[in-house]
């Protein structure tokens, strides 16, 4: 078997194992949660008999191992189960919400990278300059910000005080056609910038430090000595190498993004998976929670496997690691 294929199989196998582990931990953690799914959705004057009926309907009256076996078997067949509370398939519940989460996370990632790279480069090329100092202070501050606090602050200033932007949701009802896209974009601004503000610091500071390091390397010194313009040395030689750790960070940050999206979507009533998770937690809707966590774990695992594979292709040393 060629080395590249062996490497890919190994990484994919590890990905599958990670997914199984995440699915199992999710299953067990939910069952350890205090509370009773039947009580969470039922009326307060439910009789004990009615509670038993609900538990039976949910399959929660079976032994834990039987529940786990059924869950894994369904998972293997791509079946995430039926929502306790909504009586519809979890896949439908998640598919309804997934596009909004994708829109929010991808747009925030794009804005972060688009703003972060030039900022990092400018800071690295003028170390200890005013911009560099601002970037360092801003970067550290940004990293220490708490997503919901940023969200509430933005909501208060731009939504309530200035009335520039809507304060919640993904679009206004009653708007159709082309205007709907504009309305969606308007609603996206505040949640997107909440995420951008808290993740930008990591990108800028990582890029800044690796670029400063790269620019001090022999090949950059040589390029300058050959008389290459500084712009070319920075953007063509230094940045290409400095971007490698930043690319890794994009993969690693995906997990953070997903977590951040849960909080952001809750603050802004954004109808993505994050808000869905919040609601499912309050109702102890185990199938929806299991499905959502498996989906999110799969997203992170796939992103990391792809990053590993890309690295393997770029750097042969990784394949033997």
């Amino acid at each position: 078997m060629p080395q590249v294929v062996r490497f890919a199989v190994r990484r994919l196998g590890r990905g599958v194992l990670t997914l199984w582990f995440a699915a199992t931990v999710t299953f067990l953690l939910l069952r350890l949660l205090p509370g009773d799914p039947a009580l969470a959705v039922a009326s307060p004057n439910m009789t004990p008999e009615a509670r038993q009926i609900l538990l039976h309907q949910y399959g929660l009256d079976q032994p834990l191992l039987a529940q786990y076996g059924k869950y894994l078997w369904q998972l293997l067949h791509g079946n995430l189960g039926i929502s306790f509370t909504q009586q519809i398939s979890v896949t439908d519940v998640l598919l309804e919400r997934l596009p909004w989460t994708l829109l929010l996370t991808i747009s925030s990632l794009v804005v972060t990278v688009a703003v972060g790279i030039p900022l990092g480069v400018l800071a690295a090329t003028r170390p200890r300059g005013l911009l560099d100092r601002l970037v360092q202070v801003g970067g550290v501050t940004g990293q220490s910000l708490f997503v919901p606090s940023v969200g509430i602050f933005l909501l208060f200033v731009f939504g309530l005080q200035l009335h520039w932007l809507p304060i919640g949701g993904a679009y206004s009802p009653g708007i159709y056609g082309a205007a709907w896209y504009g309305d969606v974009a308007l609603h996206l601004i505040l949640p997107c910038f909440s995420l951008v503000l808290v993740q930008l610091g990591s990108y800028v500071l990582t890029l800044r430090s690796t670029l400063i390091e790269s620019l001090g390397e022999d090949y950059c010194v040589l390029a300058r000595a050959k008389g290459l313009p500084n712009r070319k040395v920075v953007w063509k030689h230094g940045l290409r190498n400095a971007l490698l750790p930043t690319t890794t960070l994009v993969g690693l940050q995906l997990g953070f993004l997903v977590g951040g999206a849960v909080l952001t979507e809750t603050v802004f009533a954004y109808p993505g998976i994050g808000r869905g998770i919040y609601e499912a937690v309050t109702q102890l809707d185990f199938p929806v929670l299991q499905g959502a966590f498996v989906l999110l774990a799969a997203t992170v695992v796939v992103a990391n496997v792809l990053t590993d594979l890309a690295y393997g292709l770029l750097d042969p040393r990784v394949r033997t690691a």
Binding site: M46, L103, G159, G168, Y171, P173, Y176, V184, V267, P271
Partner: protein, 528 residues
């Protein structure tokens, strides 16, 4: 780089297309009477279940009640009034009946008949949609039948004088021709192609976003049979504070949730906003777990009842927006039943000390208890601290155990507490609610009381179809509860709802479940 640009473009297009799939399509125009106005209402939760026989969250109720009629409604005094049923009652102790009006239609043109009602009741009995409130109320019902298109009869297993009014008030009637082909009503999601009997029908929704309902005619409880507002849109916000921002911003016209007490005065003075006051039908209370010593001792319970400064709680935490029930489980809004002779336990730490001494507690032997409450309930969380501080004045230590709602519910169900603090949302019928609260095995008997004298009074009241006798029995039962501190009812909170002053004509109903978003209210509102 050359390869990446089209790749990014394709990805962006794919994402845009995916999101566009979530986009709404323009609704078709309707041309019946009324105005073209849209009323936008804020809520904090999504509809969990579109099937009114399963869903029981507040938003579920608000939206499905606009689509599926109830047999009865209540007036501002909490008295049951005709709605789909013109009249109701008992022909003999084991036969109840509803006589329906004949002018209500489903949105597909079919009439709402007694068959729909009988089907709904029998389906609940057969399929046991356990999350549903009505299932517990139909426990004494054997079956329902429809001897004529407008008459429904309930065959009872045992005399039950409360089931007709209780099931009539709580149960939504569903269209038999839609629900029956779907099989079990317990598993029917009912999430598309809705058929409604007005005043509104759900036409589209986006989870986490909004729910759009359009008017249905004829609706006999609206002017000229036509709801004045063409469309009702419910929008979902994260919490009531964001809803208030949305109302101030003009994004919504009405907030469906009751306002937190601290926001009421603030909004009453805000320009462009009107606040409606609605009497409450529920109450806040503490119950003392009588299965645990020394709470099985009446003197200890009385001592605890006298350590609470009820007035302070009502004026400080509730900002004067609550009334005393006289420590009675019959809320004063139920004017037919209320007994004005019952007086509230007075705040008297010295009397508490004396009662504790009689129970064997004093300086050498202090009493320490735990009290559970839900941290999601901001009002209870606040008064819990006052209760703890006041109890300390009588030498009682109360350890506060605030917890998340699910843990709180689990601990409540398991009886794992000394003191339970919480709220009951709607206590619309004293006899029914006393049966649930004070009979052994009652679903909300949190004090775990089992007093033969009390059991007899409540059981007799349940079986009596004589209103005066039922009232007398309920009042005697309330006296027993009061004297023995089987329940410590602290106050009944009035509810306040905010809306834009451009709207008027709301019909007030007691309780947060009906408030100003009851079908009869929304079918009559007008925009200036």
């Amino acid at each position: 780089m050359r390869v990446r640009t089209p790749l990014i473009a394709v990805s962006a297009l794919a994402l845009a297309a995916t999101v566009a799939a979530c986009g709404p399509s323009a609704p078709s125009k309707t041309a019946d009477g009324g105005t073209d106005a849209t009323l936008t209402i804020a809520t904090t939760t999504d509809v969990v279940n579109f099937n009114p026989l399963v869903g029981n969250s507040r938003t579920d109720n608000w939206i499905t009640s606009l689509m599926y009629p109830r047999l009865l409604t209540i007036d501002a005094n909490g008295a049951k009034q005709p709605y789909l049923a013109k009249s109701f009652g008992y022909t003999n102790p084991t036969t109840g009946f509803y006589e329906l009006r004949d002018d209500m239609k489903w949105s597909d043109g079919k009439p709402v008949t007694a068959s729909d009602v009988a089907y709904t009741i029998n389906a609940i009995l057969k399929d046991k949609p356990a999350g549903n409130t009505t299932y517990g109320q139909l426990v004494n019902v054997d079956s329902a039948s429809a001897p004529s298109p407008t008459r429904v009869e309930l065959k009872l297993k045992t005399p039950d004088s409360t089931v007709v009014s209780e099931a009539g008030f709580w149960m939504n009637v569903v269209p038999q021709h839609v629900f029956e082909p779907a099989g079990s009503v317990a598993n029917f999601p009912n999430n598309s192609n809705w058929v409604s009997a007005g005043p509104y029908k759900l036409t589209s929704f986006a989870k986490g976003q909004n729910y759009t309902l359009e008017r249905v005619t004829p609706y006999p409880f609206a002017p000229n049979g036509t709801p004045t507002v063409a469309k009702i849109v419910y929008r979902v916000y994260p919490d009531v504070n964001t809803e208030i921002l949305a109302l101030k911003n003009g994004d919504v016209d009405l907030i469906a949730n009751a306002l937190p007490p601290a926001q009421v005065k603030n909004l009453q003075g805000a320009s462009g906003i009107k606040v409606e006051e609605v009497p409450g039908l529920g109450y806040a209370h503490m119950t003392y777990n009588m299965k645990r010593k020394p709470l099985d001792n009446v003197k200890v319970r009385q001592a605890l009842a006298h350590t609470v400064d009820y007035n302070a709680i009502r004026s400080v935490v509730l900002q004067g927006q609550a009334v005393s029930t006289g420590s009675s489980p019959i809320p004063p809004v139920l004017k037919e039943f209320v007994d004005p002779s019952l007086e509230e336990y007075n705040f008297d730490p010295n009397l508490s000390k004396q009662l504790l001494a009689e129970a064997g507690y004093g300086p050498g032997k202090t009493l320490t208890l735990s009290m559970i409450y839900s941290l999601q309930d901001a009002v209870t969380s606040q008064w819990a601290t006052i209760v703890k501080d006041d109890a300390a004045k009588a030498g009682i230590t109360i350890n506060l155990q605030g917890m998340d709602r699910n843990t709180y519910l689990a601990k409540t169900a398991a009886g794992e507490y000394d003191i339970y603090a919480g709220n009951f949302a709607i206590m619309d019928d004293p006899t029914t609610n006393m049966a649930l609260t004070y009979l052994p095995g009652g679903a909300i008997n949190y004090s775990l009381v089992d007093d033969p004298a009390l059991n007899e009074l409540i059981t007799k009241a349940q079986a009596s179809t004589d209103k005066a006798e039922q009232k007398s029995l309920a009042q005697q039962a309330a006296k027993l509860v009061h004297a023995n501190v089987y329940d410590n009812v602290m106050y009944m909170q009035n509810l306040y709802f905010a809306h834009s002053d451009k709207w008027s004509g709301f019909v007030i109903k007691p309780s947060e479940l009906l408030s100003v978003v009851d079908p009869q209210s929304l079918a009559n509102v007008t925009k200036s």
